[in-house]
Amino acid sequence: MAEERTITLAHGGGGRQSRELVVEHFLNLGKKTDPRDLDDAAVLEAPAGRLAFTTDSFVVTPRFFPGGNIGKLAVFGTVNDLAAMGARPVALSVGLVIEEGLAASEVARVAEAVAQACAEAGVAVVTGDTKVVERGAADGLFINTSGIGAVHPKARLSGRNARPGDVVIVSGPVGDHGIAIMAARNELAGLSGLSSDSAPLTELAFALLDAAGEAVHVLRDPTRGGLAAALNEIALQAEVAIALDEDAIPVSEATRGACELLGLDPLYLACEGRLVACVAQRAAERALEALRALALGAQARAIGEVLEGPAGLVSLRTALGVERVLDMPSGEHLPRIC
């Protein structure tokens, strides 16, 4: 059996091995790059209008999990941050930090995943960097992606823009990614049947903006901390209150079942393929229709409304018709038996 090739410090040294690594794995991420064009920076035609620019780092383990992987997350995560500002992705960068000793086949797998995600999202990686660190200095592989996007002409989006009277809409069931990762990472209870919702949100965002334009005040993709974190942030930014209807928040059966088993709350678990929107009331129906016309938004629902105050407070109306606070998550969300 051939010895498994591994990544060594030489691969990060800038010399022959570095070049070999790049040429072997990183020249076809959404678009084919000729090795003769490997320069210090990519030069692009600037799109007309406003540019959005974002960056994100990805350190998830396990690197491959049901419904996704670190490569997919790295691409869609950045694409979705752009989408939340109403921007279509124009170009991505990828920076890798690889731990010495990682199998070369693992790098190949991740690169392939990035390439597939780029194809799905309609964007290419135009520039990148690779570093290799000593054993123990990184957990296998870390990815940073940055992205630039062209902003929709009608987009006037910011957490600060949420206004009393706005309808709060979510594009689909929440918590799927968070519970899938937790189950995969800890092998808790041998859970299976869960799947991350990792997906690019560009088309959803643009469908919303095409239908409702400036009536869309806020878009957000609720990642770490889940729906609760995203809404608490918006309430703080805009100095408004948000009142939700607990019954209206969509949660998939599998996620609900697994969360109940482990004593977790789906409202605090990450999504990687959902949009939360605050839309002026007059445009709410149109907005929902536009989302539901796409497969990814088929389960879109109105889940609450923005109120004057108390500023920063997010509340839930329970099944008993009483209101309780949906707090900003704090500390690690852990499974419990009690």
């Binding site: 004593g263 105050g309 108390p310 008993l320 606070v325 419990r336 038996i337």
Partner: protein, 377 residues
């Protein structure tokens, strides 16, 4: 199961709520019921039941939060285990952030100790099988619901020759604690909402002696909001009719005799002993320890660690909250020096601790009162 789904129908809960309020109004004075079980406290807070009930029914949280009643000394002992070389501590997530005298399991993990969160005790046994070179110590906290599962893990380890598996046994028993609480007379109680899943194991009959001796109505309840409301309906009817008996409102999961197999598993591996309860002091025969046959599994004995009296934070009033004497909002440090980010005691840490539940779910009243410009007592 269709019926289970139907029990979750919010319309049922709302209709029951109206009925319970009407029943409560018929009694001359407000009724005080204690929900013993921390998971009940959590459900009650989550669905806003206290607010919904209004003044005629007052719900007081009891000592049924195993993490909350685990003494500081025991937490320090768990931390000492985590600091022992070549030891991997396995714990349920609940215990991670509970403060000991100076640290917590979460803080120890951040400082480099091997601490793993598990869901099932069998995961700890599996880990021990895989990591033969280390001691794998399971922190066994919980009441009669959890003890049988730990007992099975102990049996599996012994039978499978997994001799690097160990248990720090900190289990406690509910009926003796209820007896002590009722005997103290500190809080006048009109009835008890008895824990549903403890009762699955010990049976609804386990409360008959208590109910008779103290003249207290007891109803075993399930965990849907409708289940808790059904229990309240039964408690209020008992009060109206001058009865004090044990009724089982969770028949789909609780039998009068309980789960005999589970009781046998517990009895094989554990025996009762005196135990120290945070806030309640030492209660005779209210804890469990490993029987002689299983004593070699005792993690503390293996590591040479003794449970010493720990130091509670001087400003911490968890004991009074656990006995039902203080409501969370009445604790002088609630929401001020003591918050979920910087908890002084377990009631604020444990997700089912009365204070954590109140903090997370109850602040709406205070905020609304602020807004109106009134001050809320």
């Amino acid at each position: 199961m269709e019926a289970l789904e139907q029990i979750r129908n919010p319309k049922l809960a709302r209709a029951l709520l109206a009925e319970v309020r009407a029943l409560a109004d018929k009694l001359g004075r407000p009724q005080t019921f204690m929900e013993v079980c921390g998971t009940h406290s959590h459900v009650i807070a989550r669905c806003g039941l206290r607010e919904a009930l209004g003044g005629a029914v007052r719900l007081v949280s009891g000592p049924g939060c195993p993490v909350c009643v685990t003494s500081v000394g025991e937490i320090d002992a768990a931390i000492a285990l985590a600091r022992t070389p070549n030891t991997i501590v396995c714990t349920f997530g609940d215990m991670m952030r509970v403060p000991g005298s100076e640290s917590s399991l979460a803080a120890e993990r951040a400082a480099g100790a091997q601490v793993r969160v598990i869901y099932s005790p069998m995961e700890a046994v599996e880990l021990a099988r895989r990591k033969r070179g280390a001691r794998v110590a399971l922190i066994a906290v919980g009441f009669e619901t959890t003890a049988p599962a730990i007992a099975c893990a102990a049996r599996a380890a012994l039978e499978g020759g997994v001799n690097n598996f160990a248990i720090m046994c900190s289990h406690k028993l509910i009926p003796p604690a209820l007896d002590a609480l009722l005997a103290s007379g500190e809080v006048a109680l009109d009835g008890l909402i008895c824990p549903g899943h403890v009762s699955t194991v010990i049976g609804s009959r386990a409360y008959e002696e208590l109910s008779r001796r103290h003249g207290v109505p007891c109803v075993v309840a399930g965990f849907e909001p409708a289940d808790v409301l059904l229990a309240l309906r039964l408690l209020l009817r008992q009060r109206l009719e001058g009865r004090a008996e044990v009724e089982n409102a969770y028949g789909r999961a609780v039998k009068p005799e309980g789960n005999v197999r589970a009781q046998e598993a517990m009895a094989e591996v554990f025996e009762p002993c005196d135990a120290q309860w945070r806030g309640l002091g030492t209660i005779p025969q209210s804890g469990l320890r490993l029987r002689e046959k299983y004593a070699e599994l005792c993690a503390l004995r293996q590591a040479g660690i003794e449970v010493k009296p720990g130091r509670e934070h001087p400003a911490c009033h968890c004991g009074e909250v656990l006995r039902g004497v203080l409501r969370p909002a009445e604790c002088p440090v609630f929401g001020k020096a003591c918050t979920p980010e910087r908890p002084l005691g377990p009631c604020m840490v444990s997700s089912e601790g009365a204070c954590a539940a109140e903090y997370k779910y109850g602040r709406l009243r205070a905020k609304a009162a602020e807004k109106v410009g009134a001050s809320d007592g």
